[in-house]
C-alpha cells in the first residue's frame, strides 16, 4: 500500500479499524478529539458502533461491557480523562478482559495544559487504578510506529486477556507524517469466556473481578502475576542507538527520543559519543538493555517531558552500576536538542 499523509489521531483510528476494532466508546478532550471524530465517521461504514459516552467513566465501563462480550473495542482520552478511566481499567485488568486504551497525554497535574507532556508515566505504568496489576504500555515515536503498535496492541490484548495502553503525547496526536498500513491479519483468539447468551448449551459465563474469599483473591493475584511475567518475557520492546562507544547513554521515549537523536547527532559533531535506549514498551520496561552497556559509558541521562518519572525505572534497571542524571521540561515546554547537549556537556564537565 502507498504511503498516505495522516494526522496521528486519525491514523490511530484507521489502524484500530484495520485491526478489527468495531466498537469505540469515548468522551471529548483535547488533544485527542480527532480519534472519536474519525471513529464516528468511519465505524458505521464497517458495521461498527461509535458511541459518545456521558463521561470518561461511563466510556471505560462501556468498553468493559463490550470487551466482556468478546469483541475488539477501544477508547481514547487524554491525561485527566485517563485518570477518570482508571477505575474501569482496574476492573478490566481484574476481570481479565482485552481492550485498547489510547492516551494522547497532556500536561498536569489537574487541568494542567493541553500541550505535549510525558507526565503520565506513573499513571500509565504503575497501574493507575487500585490493586495489584500491570498492563502493557506502548510509547510510539512516530506516526508510522503508532500505526504499527496499534495493531500490535489489539493482538497482545487478546493474547493475554489484558487492557493495553498506547501512550502518545499531543505531538503524536496532532502531527502529520506519511504512513503505510501493512496488511496484517489480526490474531485469532478463541474467547469461550465471552458473554453472548448461554444458548442453553453451557454454564453461565461471568465477567467479574470480585473474589471475596481472601485465598481466592490471592490465587487470582498469583495467576495475574504469572501473566505479567510472561508478558515481560515476550512483549518487551526497545530500540537502542549508537551504544558502542557511548560516554553517556540517554534514556528517552516517544517524541522526546526523536529530540534526543538530534542531540546525539550534534554531540557527535563535537566529538562526544552519546547513546540512546528508547523503551518502546514502558511496561514491561526494557531492563535487559541496561545490562549490555559499554565500558566507555560513564553515566545515564533520563530525558523526559516531565519533572522526572521514568527515571525511577532507569534507576531500578541501572541498579547502582552507574550514576543516573535527569533532564526534563514540563508543562508543555518541549526539550530542545541544544538543551540536551548542554546537559550532557555539563555532566561530562566539558562546558
Amino acid at each position: 500500500m502507498a504511503k498516505v499523509l495522516m494526522k496521528g489521531n486519525e491514523a490511530i483510528g484507521a489502524a484500530a479499524i484495520k485491526a478489527g476494532c468495531k466498537y469505540f466508546f469515548g468522551y471529548p478532550i483535547t488533544p485527542q478529539n480527532e480519534i472519536p471524530e474519525y471513529m464516528s465517521r468511519e465505524l458505521p461504514k464497517v458495521g461498527g458502533v461509535f458511541l459518545q459516552a456521558e463521561s470518561e467513566i461511563a466510556a471505560i465501563n462501556m468498553v468493559y461491557g463490550a470487551a466482556g462480550c468478546g469483541v475488539r473495542v477501544m477508547t481514547s482520552s487524554s491525561s485527566p480523562g485517563i485518570a477518570l478511566k482508571q477505575e474501569g481499567i482496574s476492573y478490566i485488568a481484574g476481570a481479565e478482559l482485552p481492550c485498547v486504551i489510547v492516551n494522547i497525554s497532556r500536561g498536569g497535574p489537574g487541568l494542567g495544559s493541553i500541550q505535549p507532556a510525558q507526565s503520565d508515566y506513573y499513571q500509565s505504568t504503575r497501574g493507575g487504578g487500585n490493586g495489584d496489576y500491570f498492563h502493557p504500555v506502548y510509547a510510539p515515536a512516530s506516526i508510522q510506529e503508532t500505526v504499527d503498535l496499534m495493531q500490535e496492541a489489539f493482538d497482545v490484548a487478546d493474547k493475554y486477556r489484558t487492557p493495553v495502553m498506547v501512550l502518545g503525547d499531543g505531538m503524536i496526536g496532532q502531527m502529520m507524517e506519511p504512513v503505510e498500513f501493512f496488511e496484517r491479519e489480526p490474531l485469532k483468539v478463541e474467547k469461550p469466556w465471552a458473554t453472548n447468551g448461554t444458548k442453553g448449551k453451557r454454564k453461565p459465563n461471568i465477567i467479574n473481578s470480585l473474589f471475596i474469599d481472601p485465598q481466592a483473591l490471592e490465587d487470582h493475584n498469583h495467576r495475574l502475576e504469572e501473566k505479567f511475567e510472561l508478558m515481560k518475557k515476550n512483549e518487551t520492546r526497545v530500540e537502542t542507538f549508537n551504544m558502542e562507544a557511548a560516554e553517556v547513554v540517554c534514556v528517552a521515549y516517544g517524541t522526546t527520543a526523536r529530540i534526543v537523536k538530534n542531540a546525539i547527532e550534534n554531540c557527535k559533531k563535537e566529538g562526544i559519543e552519546v547513546g540512546l535506549i528508547r523503551p518502546i514498551t514502558l511496561w514491561p520496561f526494557p531492563e535487559a538493555a541496561f545490562d549490555e552497556i559499554s565500558d566507555t559509558t560513564k553515566v545515564f541521562l533520563s530525558v523526559e517531558m516531565s519533572m522526572g518519572q521514568m527515571i525511577d525505572d532507569v534507576k531500578i534497571a541501572v541498579a547502582g552500576r552507574r550514576p543516573v542524571e535527569f533532564y526534563g521540561r514540563s508543562g508543555g515546554m518541549i526539550p530542545t536538542p541544544e538543551g540536551v547537549v548542554q546537559k550532557i556537556k555539563s555532566i561530562l564537565g566539558r562546558e
Binding site: M176, P178, I334
Partner: protein, 181 residues
C-alpha cells in the same frame, strides 16, 4: 537538505493548508516530511501556526524551536513571535499587505510579498496563502512547484476541483512577485 519552515498567521488565513500542501508535495517526491500544528484555544480565532520539515534524511524532532530555516508570516503577531526562531542566513517571508514594519533581523534574507493585494487582484482574498506559497517556492526549493500542483489535484476533488485554476494562478502570481537580485 533539510527545510524547517514555520507558517504562521491568524485563523482563517490558511496557514495550516500552506503547510499541509508543502508536506504532501514532499511526500509525493519521496522525501521525509512532518507537519506539526498548534492546537487548542490558540486555534479558536487566535494565531495559528504549523511546523513543516522536509528532509532527505529521517527527521528527528518535528518541533522547530530556534532552528527554523524559514518563516512565513501572514500577520504582524506572527512575525513578532517567530522572527527570532529563524537561523542566521535563513529566510523570512512577510505578508506586506498586513504587516507594515520590516523585520528587526539583519542576518536573514527578507522578502516582502503583498499577498492580500495580489489575491484581491485575482478576485479571491482566500488565495493569499497560495500567493505566499508561490513566493516561497520561488526562493526556497524544498519541493518542486509541479509537486504542489499535483497535490492540488489530489486534494481538490469533486466540487473543489474548480478551485484548482485559481490556486495555480495564485502560486504563479506569488512567484512572479519575487525579483531575485
Amino acid at each position: 537538505m533539510q527545510e524547517r519552515a514555520i507558517f504562521a498567521g491568524f485563523g482563517g488565513q490558511g496557514v495550516m493548508s500552506m503547510g499541509k500542501l508543502l508536506t504532501y508535495a514532499g511526500m509525493i517526491e519521496g522525501k521525509e516530511v512532518s507537519w506539526l500544528p498548534s492546537y487548542g484555544p490558540e486555534m479558536r480565532g487566535g494565531t495559528a501556526n504549523c511546523h513543516v520539515t522536509v528532509s532527505d534524511a529521517a527527521i528527528g524532532s518535528p518541533v522547530i524551536t530556534n532552528d527554523a530555516t524559514c518563516l512565513i508570516a501572514m500577520n504582524l503577531p506572527s512575525l513578532v513571535k517567530f522572527e527570532g526562531d529563524v537561523v542566521a542566513g535563513g529566510v523570512i517571508f512577510i505578508n506586506s499587505t498586513l504587516i507594515d514594519i520590516k523585520t528587526d533581523r539583519d542576518d536573514v534574507h527578507a522578502y516582502y510579498v503583498p499577498a492580500n493585494d495580489i489575491a484581491n487582484d485575482l478576485g479571491n482574498l482566500k488565495v493569499a496563502n497560495m500567493v505566499m506559497l508561490g513566493a516561497y517556492l520561488k526562493v526556497m526549493h524544498p519541493v518542486k512547484e509541479e509537486s504542489v500542483v499535483e497535490t492540488f489535484h489530489k486534494l481538490f476533488t469533486g466540487a473543489k476541483e474548480k478551485l484548482i485554476p485559481m490556486n495555480e494562478e495564485a502560486l504563479k502570481r506569488g512567484a512572479d512577485s519575487i525579483v531575485i537580485a
